[in-house]
């Protein structure tokens, strides 16, 4: 064996020895780093264990299938909905409602929020009203929305709109207010007009935050879906869950809930990815 490598090996061994002797046992040291591998594995182990437990509990007959069907039953239900095409029909109808509902909320909330964030007059005029209205329980508005918008798609869209618009307006207002006031001052000293400052400084500066608000609020619209499809809906992912309640089809309920969650997660991810490529300059180094 060449001399240098044995020295290196010894040194390496020595270093490892020392490190091991110094390291206190366990992964539970306050605010101390743990290996990346352990961190990721932990995140996978928990859901896997939960599913295995679920499996065990149902397989051993500890719980009636009415209360908790086995994971296999859920997969069967998934296959049934996929093979009959129900799932795609429902997803299409619901996605349409979500997109129209959320878009109409965003199209109004973004300009109103921008006005409120920039002009004290608009803030003074609208903020007290919106802050109050946003605490209205959306479910309680169902009768009114039926009265106003009938029982078609419009009513579902209106519910999603009402659930999103008020919160989103206030969030956009904050996004605009949070930009560095010195950016506006810099624009003023450089000789730009108020309109130019609004379009070329305030908007681009606030855009990444507004995008984030979009991401968060579209996530909320997914959670409102069941409420929106509570009444007089023929199809839709939320409707499917409500119908299943009538027939005590627990597998349909669980699958539907998981699937809505999955779509919400995917939307979130898509927004995150798009935002990252739209706003490259927000990346550090």
């Amino acid at each position: 064996m060449p001399k240098t490598s044995s020295i290196a090996a010894n040194a390496a061994a020595g270093r490892i020895d020392r490190r091991q002797s110094r390291r206190k046992k366990g992964l539970l040291r306050l605010r101390q780093p743990i290996p990346d591998r352990v961190f990721t594995t932990a995140g996978l182990v928990v859901p896997v264990v939960l599913v295995l437990l679920w499996f065990a509990v149902t397989a051993l007959g500890l719980v009636k299938p009415l209360f908790l069907p086995s994971p296999l039953a859920i997969l069967e239900e998934a296959w049934r909905q996929i093979s009959t095409g129900i799932l795609f029909e429902d997803a299409a109808v619901s996605s349409y409602r979500i997109i129209v509902g959320w878009l109409s909320a965003a199209v109004l909330a973004i300009p109103v929020g921008i006005l409120m964030g920039n002009f004290r007059l608009f803030e003074g005029a609208l903020e007290p009203l919106i802050s109050t209205v946003r605490y209205m329980p959306i479910v309680a508005l169902i009768p009114l929305t039926i009265l106003w918008a009938g029982i078609g798609d419009e009513q579902k869209i209106l519910i999603l709109f009402l659930g999103t618009f008020f919160q989103m307006t206030l969030m956009v207002m904050d996004n605009v207010k949070n930009i560095d006031v010195n950016l506006i001052r810099a624009g003023q000293t450089l000789g730009f007009s108020n309109t130019e400052i609004l379009w070329r400084i305030i908007l681009p500066a606030a855009l990444p935050a507004i995008w984030d608000t979009c991401r968060i609020t579209i996530g909320w619209t997914w959670t409102y879906l069941v409420v929106a499809e509570l009444v007089a809906a023929q199809s839709g992912l939320g409707r499917r869950i409500m119908d299943a309640q009538r027939y005590l089809a627990t597998d349909t309920i669980i699958f539907g809930t998981l699937f809505i969650g999955l779509l919400g997660l995917l939307t979130d991810y898509a927004f995150k990815r798009t935002g990252r490529s739209l706003f490259r300059w927000t990346a550090d180094r």
Partner: protein, 267 residues
Amino acid sequence: MTMAPIPKIRAEAVGKIFGEGADEFLAIDRIDLTVAPNEFVSIVGTSGCGKSTFLNMVGGLTEPTFGDILIDGKPVKGPGRDRGFVFQGYSLFEWMTVEGNILFALEKSRLSKPEKTELVRQFIHEVGLRGFEKSYPRQLSGGMRQRVAIARALVYKPSLLLMDEPFGALDAQTRGMMQELLLKVWEDHKVTVLFVTHDVEEAIFLADRVIVLASRPGRIKRELTVDLPRPRQFDIVTSPEFSQLKRGVLADIREETLKVMSLGDAG
């Protein structure tokens, strides 16, 4: 001076009241100040003494409640391109590159496109950012970002540079380098500088004259001329003359700080 030229800045009994009704308070009380062309004046004071407010008023970003501010003999009516501003936070347009930020400052000037490009190139070179033209502000260190801000504030050739604690967020080593860079730029471009800081050493090192502000309300407590030779090197801060100036200003500032603290106790 044998004859009196038109001062670059002339502030006459300038004051500022903030708030309304019961919240009303006097932030600045009758500041009189004259700054000559090409002079470098530092304003130093405890936090909340109104030094930034005064600078904003000279910049036209805030209106004085009373008194007049004249620049080149003309009253200030809002911000303008005769003045450049450097703020404490880096305040760069983060969605623009280094080049883009500086070019943006030239948008309102009547120069031709090649002239603008040349000016941008020249200023990037002057502040030592060659090779970083296409970088975004987030990719730069604090000192580099502030160099972009300085280039952006000077590229359109304002005759007055207003600086609001521009190096306050930098570490001590970087700050020293930036101070020397600023003095060089100031000497090359012959602009008048009004420099606000709470760092006494920085105030003296840079300036021809140091204005010490008293707190609550802000007013001039003391003015002192800094007779140290130029160009100044970093080690000048260890000279006896420097120490003597520093001791005087520190005593003033300490007195003001104690005053504010006891006011706080009483309130």
